[in-house]
Symmetry: C2
Subunit: 431 residues, 2 copies
């Protein structure tokens, strides 16, 4: 029966959520780790490169990509649900944010983002030049760019679960991650331009490249900043004109989330990632009187969907690829971790006048490269700037930095693990 194909996608959706829930539960209960880590590992286990490959079906637990559809090299159907999940997560994170604190941490967060980009980039570039000289300038640039990435999802989930999203460190991480995304697209555009010129062997017009990068940065920052100001200064009008019409029907939270999806798309028109739009949309509503109502009804949606994103992210990992350049991967991972921590710790500690513990939380919280690292490395692979071996190493960096972060973060939350767990529990059961 033809329609059966659709039902197989329904099954895949259910199986991914099931694996995520079981993985999350096991990690939380027996390994005392955050559920999100269990969801990632569950994804690695059920991926088409592992268990999923044993199910001899091109759709169930496979990526079911369609070659050449919509002008894409490969079109992946479940990717859309994964995007919906992460947009919902960052929207809720936005609504949960203390807007006053967010603005207060603005300068520090910006410096953290800049430091967290510069250090890993320089380290990554020169270490790759030393380890893999044959990759050439295009390859060194792309590995450097991959190391600048910050994937905020895992950190946000952990901070949420521990009730620490609204702390000074939590807010700084959020500001840093948003600005990191803006810097990230600028770097990617520079890297793509320079490596294309390097590969073509032609002369590089650095003035041209710099002007382009400046333009992208200015637009991205302006849009993001404008949305933030609208949210903070005009929240009365947002309440009155955008939310109150839906008060009678009790659908304010749903309408707010829908606005989040629209804004998530709109920011992509200036090159930002949808999660930045979703987060800023959430911030817009964080200052309104309807905040509690919005949180109350959107959090269950987030709790249902977010594990899909993390498990699906885990599914992208082909463990076999990681062995290829094992030594390079190990060294790059160490560089990625140390570079990010140093680059973020220094501004947090000295410009932001945070304590050592807070600064370490900021530094470690920015460590995961996650899907952002995978995207940049994937762009490098597609552009021919890096080969399969360096791509494997970049994947390893993205995965390992994401997996080890929770354990690294733990010693810096000064609560005994039992009470920290209870806080998380209470919060989640109150929802």
């Amino acid at each position: 029966m033809e329609i059966g194909i659709y039902f197989k996608f329904l099954l895949t959706f259910g199986l991914i959520l099931l694996a995520a829930r079981i993985g999350g539960e096991l990690f939380e209960r027996y390994l005392k780790q955050p559920p999100v880590l269990g969801e990632l590992v569950a994804g690695i286990i059920i991926s088409p490169f592992a268990l999923g490959g044993l199910i001899n079906d091109p759709i169930i637990l496979h990526f079911a990509t369609i070659q050449g559809a919509f002008g894409l090299h490969e079109f992946n159907v479940m990717e859309i649900i994964s995007e919906i999940a992460v947009v919902t997560l960052l929207f809720v994170a936005g609504v949960e944010t203390d807007v006053g604190a967010f603005i207060k941490q603005g300068i520090t967060g910006a410096l953290v983002a800049v430091g967290g980009v510069i250090f890993p980039f320089i380290f990554g570039y020169f270490i790759t030049m030393w380890l893999v000289p044959e990759a050439g300038i295009a390859g060194w640039l792309f590995i450097g760019a991959t190391l600048t990435a910050t994937s905020i999802g895992v950190t946000v989930r952990i901070l949420m679960e521990m009730g620490k999203l609204q702390t000074k460190a939590g807010t700084t991480i959020l500001v840093g991650a948003v600005i990191d995304d803006i810097i990230g697209i600028v770097i990617l555009s520079i890297v793509v331009g320079v490596s294309a010129a390097a590969k073509a062997g032609g002369e590089l017009n650095m003035v041209h490249v710099s002007l382009d990068a400046l333009k992208i940065f200015a637009i991205g920052f302006a849009v993001w900043f404008a949305l933030l100001i609208i949210g903070v200064k005009l929240n009365r009008y947002i309440s009155r004109f955008l939310l109150h019409p839906f008060r009678k029907s009790g659908t304010i939270p749903i309408f707010a989330l829908i606005v989040g999806f629209i804004i998530a798309y709109l920011v992509t028109l200036v090159g930002l990632h949808p999660v930045v739009g979703a987060y800023v949309a959430g911030l817009m509503f964080a200052a309104t009187g309807e905040r509690e109502d919005i949180l109350d009804k959107t959090r269950p949606i987030m709790l249902f969907l977010a594990p899909f994103f993390f498990c699906y992210l885990g599914m992208q990992v082909d463990m076999r690829l990681l062995w290829g350049g094992a030594i390079v991967a190990v060294i790059l991972t160490i560089v990625a971790v140390l570079g990010k921590i140093a680059g973020c710790y220094i501004p947090a500690r000295f410009a932001g006048k945070m304590t050592h513990t807070e600064s370490m939380i900021v530094g470690i919280g920015m460590v995961p490269r996650g899907e952002v690292g995978l995207i940049i490395a994937g762009a490098g692979l597609l552009a021919g700037a890096i080969g399969r071996d360096l791509f494997g190493a970049a994947v390893a960096v993205s995965v390992v930095t994401t997996l080890i972060m929770p354990a690294m973060l733990k010693p810096f939350f000064k609560l005994p693990s039992a009470s920290a767990k209870n806080t998380g529990k209470t919060l989640r059961q109150d929802e």
Copy 2:
């Protein structure tokens, strides 16, 4: 940028939800109609055949079908989200059901389903034979089969919103709709077999066809009944072994919904529609002590997703197709409405000993053909049993029966409209 394609799907998701919410709001506030009707109409307005067609983009508010992907004639990406939405809706409806009443209404519901199939089928068959003799036996059969369909979604939404899902009439409709689906797949298999034989001009082995139909019926009914009995008799074990492991992490509702998705798929293996599985899975949890917790956390997910299903359903409607066989469409619609009401009213009133009002609610509640009618008619079109004109008429029947039902139902809820509205409001704001 390649990844931009995915963002366009994100936008389509957001725009469909936005149109649905605005349509639902306008219909509720100004036309005093249930939101679901506004969602359907919003879908018709933004469909690729109307407003969506004006956006000159193959993805945004278009169906973005991929030809020949996964061995399908056309593969429609957003359809999967639509399936996820309707599965969530029927799961929540299942959890909300009073299981005792469901079983009590079992016999009546079964008779309602049988009556609601026989009357419209016979009427549809002979009226089509009279109106469109050139369609032949295959065409008459397919129109008859289309008229037997029941789409439970709209009725369930309205009953939920009015707090009437757990009434005698509400329960009977749910039983009737579940059994109607089982009978429906049997009829479809017979019709496909007979019309294929008729078109081939060959001899029809009625014994063979009947045995096949009997087998499908027996398997479908057995699976459905077994799931029901498991839910009702073994709910203590469901609580203890399936739900309690997730009590500490506060994820019982999410795990229950995931089980709903898995069961929704599993029933499709014996030919049932996923919504039947989702509903019965919901019933399994309706008798557990965790019911309230499950409802509390899954209802916001349902309220967010369900409008997507209805709006997307509206988007399937090409108004231009409806003009083709306008007279045939009008007559078939009248037959469809009267046939279903008569076929359901009589068993409800006389076998079920319900009042006139209750029996009318049951009859009218079963009237919408919705997406089920569209699926059967689509199968007929694909099989070459009916042409574009009869298909247009069948689409009209599916759409119009779905659109007029709420207005027909209203006089039979004996509450003054103001207080009925308040009941709905209170319920939805309590969530």
